[in-house]
C-alpha cells in the first residue's frame, strides 16, 4: 500500500497523550468511582502502572515487524486464513469503538448543552469533520494534535487551579474502607479505557520516522496522559465526593460548573466541553483512520480514501442502532466494554508474541 506518510516522534507522543486523555477525562471518574468509591485515585495509579506495562508490550509487538502495520503483521504471524479472521475481528472492534465514541459525543452535547437539537444532527456534523480529517491523512491529523495540545493543557490547568480552593481532603477518608477488592474492580476500567485502547497505535508504528525511539515516545505520552487522568479523577473525588462522582454521568462537567471566582468568573464548563470535544475528536479521527487503513490493507487496495465516505454513512446509520437508551449504553460501557478492550489490548498482543516466538523457535530447530 503506497501510503508514504511520516510523522515525527514528537507528533507521535502528542497523539498518544491526546488519545490517552480522549473521552476518559469525562466519563472515567464516574465509571471507576462507582466501584472504588473514595479510593478511586488508587485505581487510577494501578491503571497507569498496568498501562505502562501494556505499552511496553505493544512496543515489543511493534518491533517484530517494524515495517508492517498491525493488520499486516497479524496475517504474517497467524497465516492467511486465521490471520484474516483475526484482522476482521480487530477491525470490527475499531469500528464499534468509533460508533460508540460518536454516540457518546452526541449524547454529551445533547444532554448537557443543546437539549433541543436532535442527536443525529450533531453526530452528522461531527462525522463530516472526522471524514474530512481522515481524507487529509495521518500527517495532518498529527499536526492538528500538535496545535490542540497547548489549548488542552491550558484549559486543564485553569480548571484544576481554580478548583483547588474547594478541595476537601477529608473526602478521601476512610482509605481502603472495604478492602482492596473494590479498588481492583475500579482499576479494571482505569486500565481498559485509556490505556488498552492504545493498541490501535500498532497500526501507525511504520509511519513514525524514528522507529528506534517509539518505545520512549509511547511511554512518555502515556505517562503524561495518565497523570492528567489521575489528577482529574482525584480532583473529582476531592471536590464532588465519591457519591456525587459515581452518580453523575459527566463528573468532570459538574466539576467545571463549580468553578466560581469572585462571582464574575463563572461558566467554565463550556471551556471543558471544548477541551473534551478536541480530545474525543482526535480519538475518533485516529480510530476512523485506522479502520479505513486496516480495511484497505486487508483487501490490498491502493489507498483508503474511497472507503471513508461509505464507512461514514455506515457510522451515522449505526449510531442510533447501538443504543436504544442511554441507560443501556452506559451499562454496556461500564460493565462489558472493559473486557472487550482487554481482549484486543492485552490478549491479542500477548498471543501475537507467543505465536511469533513459537514459530521462530520451531523454524530454527527444523533447520
Amino acid at each position: 500500500m503506497p501510503e508514504n506518510v511520516k510523522i515525527s516522534i514528537r507528533q507521535f507522543t502528542v497523539l498518544v497523550m491526546l488519545i490517552t486523555i480522549g473521552d476518559s477525562i469525562l466519563v472515567l471518574p464516574s465509571i471507576a468511582a462507582f466501584e472504588a468509591k473514595q479510593d478511586v485515585w488508587i485505581s487510577g495509579l494501578i491503571g497507569l502502572a498496568v498501562g505502562l506495562l501494556a505499552v511496553y508490550i505493544f512496543s515489543m509487538v511493534g518491533k517484530l515487524y517494524p515495517h508492517l502495520t498491525l493488520v499486516q503483521s497479524i496475517q504474517e504471524i497467524f497465516g492467511k486464513w486465521f490471520g484474516t479472521f483475526v484482522s476482521l475481528m480487530f477491525l470490527f472492534y475499531t469500528f464499534l469503538s468509533v460508533v460508540a465514541h460518536t454516540r457518546e459525543t452526541g449524547d454529551f452535547v445533547t444532554s448537557v448543552m443543546m437539549q433541543e437539537t436532535p442527536t443525529q444532527a450533531i453526530q452528522i456534523l461531527f462525522v463530516c469533520i472526522v471524514i474530512m480529517a481522515v481524507r487529509l491523512g495521518l500527517e495532518v491529523i498529527a499536526r492538528t494534535g500538535e496545535i490542540f495540545l497547548p489549548w488542552i493543557i491550558f484549559f486543564f490547568l485553569i480548571l484544576v487551579i481554580l478548583l483547588s480552593p474547594q478541595a476537601e481532603f477529608e473526602k478521601l477518608q476512610p482509605i481502603l474502607e472495604n478492602g482492596i477488592k473494590p479498588v481492583l474492580h475500579g482499576s479494571l476500567s482505569c486500565i481498559a479505557f485509556p490505556f488498552m485502547e492504545l493498541v490501535v497505535f500498532l497500526m501507525i508504528f511504520p509511519y513514525v520516522n524514528q522507529p528506534q525511539q517509539i518505545r520512549k515516545g509511547f511511554l512518555q505520552g502515556v505517562l503524561l496522559g495518565g497523570i492528567v487522568l489521575i489528577i482529574i479523577i482525584t480532583v473529582s473525588i476531592l471536590v464532588l465526593g465519591p457519591d456525587h462522582t459515581a452518580r453523575s454521568m459527566y463528573p468532570t462537567y459538574s466539576l467545571a460548573r463549580r468553578v466560581t471566582v469572585g462571582r464574575f468568573f463563572e461558566r467554565v464548563e463550556a471551556m471543558l466541553a471544548l477541551m473534551w470535544t478536541l480530545t474525543i475528536f482526535m480519538k475518533v479521527t485516529l480510530y476512523f483512520y485506522i479502520f479505513n487503513l486496516g480495511l484497505a490493507q486487508l483487501l490490498k487496495l491502493k489507498g483508503y480514501r474511497m472507503l471513508t465516505l461509505p464507512v461514514g454513512l455506515l457510522l451515522i446509520v449505526l449510531t442510533p442502532v447501538i443504543s436504544p437508551s442511554i441507560t443501556y449504553f452506559n451499562k454496556v460501557i461500564s460493565k462489558y466494554w472493559p473486557y472487550f478492550d482487554l481482549t484486543y489490548g492485552l490478549l491479542l498482543p500477548l498471543l501475537l508474541l507467543a505465536v511469533y516466538f513459537v514459530r521462530t523457535k520451531f523454524k530454527r530447530s527444523t533447520n
Binding site: L96, V321, S323, Y336
Partner: protein
Amino acid sequence: MLTGMLFIVAIIIAIEVPPLWRKKLKKELWAFSLLLLFGTILGLAQALEFKIPNPLDWVISVYKPVSDLMDVWLK
C-alpha cells in the same frame, strides 16, 4: 428521511466514482460499492423502522460470563 438518505448516497457516488472509474481501479470500486450498498440497505431499513440487530448485544453475550465472574470475585 428516505429522500435525504438517497440524496446523500447520490452525492457520495458523484464524489468518489468518477476518479475511480477513470483510473480503472476495479477492486477499489468493488469495495466502495459493497460498503455503500451495505450502508444504504441498513439506512433504508432504519428509515422504514425495521429492527436492525445491535452489535453491542453480541458484545454483551460474549463477555457476560467474564463480567459476572469478575463481579462475584471482586465483591
